[in-house]
Amino acid sequence: MIFLTYLMCALLLISASLVIISKNPFHSVLFLVASFLSASMLLFLFENEFLALFFLIIYLGAIAILFLFVVMMLDIKYRELQMSRLYFPVGVLIGATVLIEVYGAFLKVFSKNTNLCFKEHNSYINWYDNLDALPDVYVFGQIFYTQYVLQILIAGLILYLAVIAVAFLTVKTSFHRGMVKEQSVSRQLSRKNVL
């Protein structure tokens, strides 16, 4: 269990960093898929089955595939990373500082034995909760649609806004004809594939 968790964490980290490092966008999408997969494995290991399946179905099944389609359709040219002389060292410096700070704080917090810290904590077990455990989906439903209903509504508004935005930015009107970049299907099909 512990070994598997560490393995999945390592896979997640490696694939997430390869998403950024790899120059081919197609490869980075594939690594994104790998990172989603390992994240859902981690969730399975933590016995959070519903969320893991959610990850598999929504992120892998829909969003990552959509990403793949978009990357294949776009005509992205390969370009070597430009190492700017000013930005790169400054960025590395800032990133390293933040990383060291966060890592130090994490080390301080998690270095202690947490079992000792909570010795005042009562050892009372609520058997009622253990006996009458609820399934995952039920709990998610309860939390989403009763407690966090306001947040769900705001998130719905955000999605609605995104739909309006996409419709507006891509719709053809007579005023904008010729001025907005449009998709030409034949050209897209005739060029050679990204792979």
Partner: protein, 669 residues
């Protein structure tokens, strides 16, 4: 009888977001209406231009009306599962946002009349949705709600800045803003996840409670009285008595506050339905003599729950009851608000008075036994470094949104590239609600961390952004970028008065914000109403400084008003800008930040240069060739003169806005 009325209040309390609910529903309705008329081929693609702006301003006016008529404001309570705070501060800021956005909508409606006709009703939808997001952000009591509100308004902003689809500058600025916004929300989410991991809650008052428990003096060996172990990981409060009483008691229980709240309402419902009170839980936990009644989370004690509990306690008539009640000022405050609340006047006062007397007896009981109600957290258990990193990341995200100096680079390009009306909206309206969120973070929840560690950095960032705003604007020839630099320096002044750490500073910050919004409205109204007289309309709307030459010949009043607004932004005495600047500096000096205030006064003198240079271009250029502008109409003239007059009037009578925020700040404290 009483129970029914209490339930009515309970439902009313859930309706306290009525302005926002109304605005969102009407936006949905409006979009369907507009789509079905504007994109219908059979109707011949009806042009919706003026009407939609009228409808949008009507929506905002009606939600303003709902806001003004909200009686529940005095309850000062937390609503919808404690995710929304409904206090006077949010009321005042929402009021200001609504008024300025109505003025904004009116100005752009009038200014669009001289432009070629387009069918873009989506712009109004975007504006109203972003106003909705700003309103929600003002009353957010929770990091998740705040995040969603920020996302709501900033997604609308990305689209608004990319709105002119045939201009590549506009598309570029939209894309830039989108990427920077994604970075900022990544910081926000990372910071809030760290905070959640360390402290177990995201609600601002929970966090405040955590810090207040940390700051209590430690008493490790208590023989008598209660003890609460505040578990930061799951925020469960377990309560038990001291050793003397421990033998008499059943085992302590632990629960999360939300469960307790649900439990409480559940029991109340049961009592209403059956008039009995089969509270299995309490009877399980009470012995012959003692009733252990833990209510510990701060946010949990609000108006209604306390009434429910006290009502129940009175009904039970425990003679020897011992109650552990976390006792907070807000409890008493809610009762004082209770007297002002008109719909509650029918409820029998006696029961409440008796419950209050019981409550006082309890507190006296505690004083007699010398038993602290709350015991502090052992500081060795908690490490605050990680929490402060989370706080820092959230602050960085908000600074990116506010374009404070090291994080300001996006704002120049975005201001220059996006359409003028959008720049107007960015520059004037959204700052206030971000500052409200920053205030709730720094002065309510993370006050300890802010005062101990971060105050000096806030000062440094304020001075840095004043510096950047003062020196960056000197070289600029484009008017909008100049305004972007000016906005950066004004944000620096706001942050300076914000980080002084006392009540006057925050009060001054909100006052400054209100005046800044009014003078921004005035400036941008003049900017939008200057439409060049040309035969062919083409897309260049941006103005350079030289375009304003000879405006005093073609339209002397407009030039005068522009000069007056610039003087006000620079802070020259007979105008209101002077008043706010001197207020900020005096607050900074009062809190003995001498070096900071001296530096910022010097930089403010430098930044006066570019305002004065604009005035020089307006009045003292010896050229004979200049741009001609379309003469402005009566409505425009009326609007501009009202805005410009307010700049003078507010200087002689500044108390209107001052009092609005005075009350807000003092109630919030």
């Amino acid at each position: 009888m009483m129970n029914q009325e209490l339930f009515q209040i309970y439902h009313l309390k859930e309706m306290s977001l009525s302005a926002e609910l109304f605005l969102s529903c009407s936006i949905l309705q409006f979009t369907f209406y507009a789509v079905s008329t504007a994109y219908q081929r059979r109707a011949g693609f009806i042009i919706l231009n003026q009407q939609v702006y009228y409808i949008g301003s009507l929506f905002v006016i009606l939600s303003l009306f709902l806001l003004l008529n909200e009686d529940l404001l005095i309850m000062n309570s937390f609503n919808s599962n404690n995710f929304i705070i409904n206090d006077y501060l949010s009321f005042a800021t929402k009021l200001l946002i609504c008024i300025t956005s109505v003025a904004f909508l009116t100005i752009i409606n009038i200014s669009f009349r001289d432009e070629p006709i387009q069918n873009n009703f989506e712009y109004v939808v975007l504006i109203t949705i972003s106003v909705l997001g700003l309103l929600l952000l003002c009353s957010a009591n929770d990091l998740i709600t705040a995040y969603l509100a920020i996302e709501l308004h900033s997604i609308a902003f990305y689209i608004m800045s990319a709105f002119k689809r045939n201009s590549s500058y506009s598309i570029e600025s939209g894309l830039k803003y989108f990427i920077i916004g994604a970075l900022s929300s990544a910081f926000f989410l990372f910071g809030s996840s760290i905070v959640y991991g360390c402290m177990g809650s995201l609600i601002f008052d929970d966090l405040r409670m955590f810090f207040s428990l940390l700051s209590l003096p430690t008493q490790n060996n208590l023989n008598l009285g209660s003890a609460i172990i505040f578990d930061p990981s799951i925020l469960s409060c377990s309560a038990y008595l001291g050793e003397n009483f421990q033998t008499n008691l059943p085992q302590p229980y632990s629960t999360t506050p939300d469960n307790l709240l649900d439990w409480c309402f559940f029991n109340y419902e049961v009592s209403v339905l059956s008039q009995s009170f089969p509270s299995s839980f309490l009877q399980a936990s009470c012995n012959e003599d003692f009733l252990v009644y833990p209510i510990f989370s701060y946010f949990f004690i609000d108006f209604l729950t306390s009434i429910f509990i006290l009502d129940w306690i009175i009904n039970q008539e425990f003679v020897n009851g011992l109650f552990l009640i976390y006792y907070d000022v807000s409890f008493i405050k809610s009762f004082s608000a209770f007297e002002f609340f008109p719909s509650l006047s029918n409820i029998a006062k006696t029961s409440i008075e008796s419950s209050l007397s019981i409550f006082y007896q309890i507190s006296e009981l505690y004083q007699v036994f010398n038993a602290p109600i709350l015991t502090p957290i052992d500081c060795s258990m908690v490490n605050l470094d990680l929490v402060s990193i989370g706080f820092f990341l959230i602050c960085v995200s908000l600074f990116i949104k506010l374009s404070i100096a090291p994080f300001h680079f996006w704002s120049l390009d975005v201001y220059e590239g996006s359409p003028s009306t959008t720049t107007f909206f960015f520059a004037v309206i959204p700052k206030i609600s971000l500052f409200v969120l920053l205030m709730r973070l720094c002065y309510v929840s993370f006050y300890e961390i802010f005062v101990n560690d971060f105050q000096i950095y806030f000062f440094a960032l304020a001075v840095l952004s004043i510096f950047v705003g003062a020196l960056g604007g000197l070289e600029q020839r484009k008017l909008k970028t100049l305004l972007a630099y000016s906005s950066i320096s004004h944000t620096g002044y706001l942050l300076l008065s914000f980080s002084t750490g006392n009540v006057e500073g925050i009060l001054m910050m909100f006052y400054y914000l209100a005046i800044y919004m009014i003078s921004g409205l005035s400036f941008w109204a003049v900017y939008l109403f200057l439409i060049q007289k040309r035969d062919i309309y083409y897309n260049k709307n941006n103005k350079e400084l030289g375009d304003l030459v000879l405006l005093k010949e073609s339209n002397p009043m407009l030039a005068f008003i522009l000069a007056m607004t610039l003087f006000s932004l620079a802070g020259i005495p007979p105008l209101v800008g002077f008043l706010i600047k001197i207020g900020v500096f005096s607050v900074a000096i009062k809190s003995s930040a001498y070096l900071v205030s001296v530096i910022s006064i010097v930089l403010s003198v430098i930044s006066t240069f570019y305002y004065i240079r604009l005035i020089k271009i307006l009045y003292f250029e010896n050229t004979l060739v200049g741009k001609l502008y379309v003469p402005i109409r009566t409505q425009k003239a009326l609007l501009i003169s009202v805005l410009a007059l307010s700049l003078i009037v507010l200087c002689f009578d500044p108390m209107v806005i001052y009092l609005l925020f005075y009350k807000a700040i003092f109630i919030a404290n």
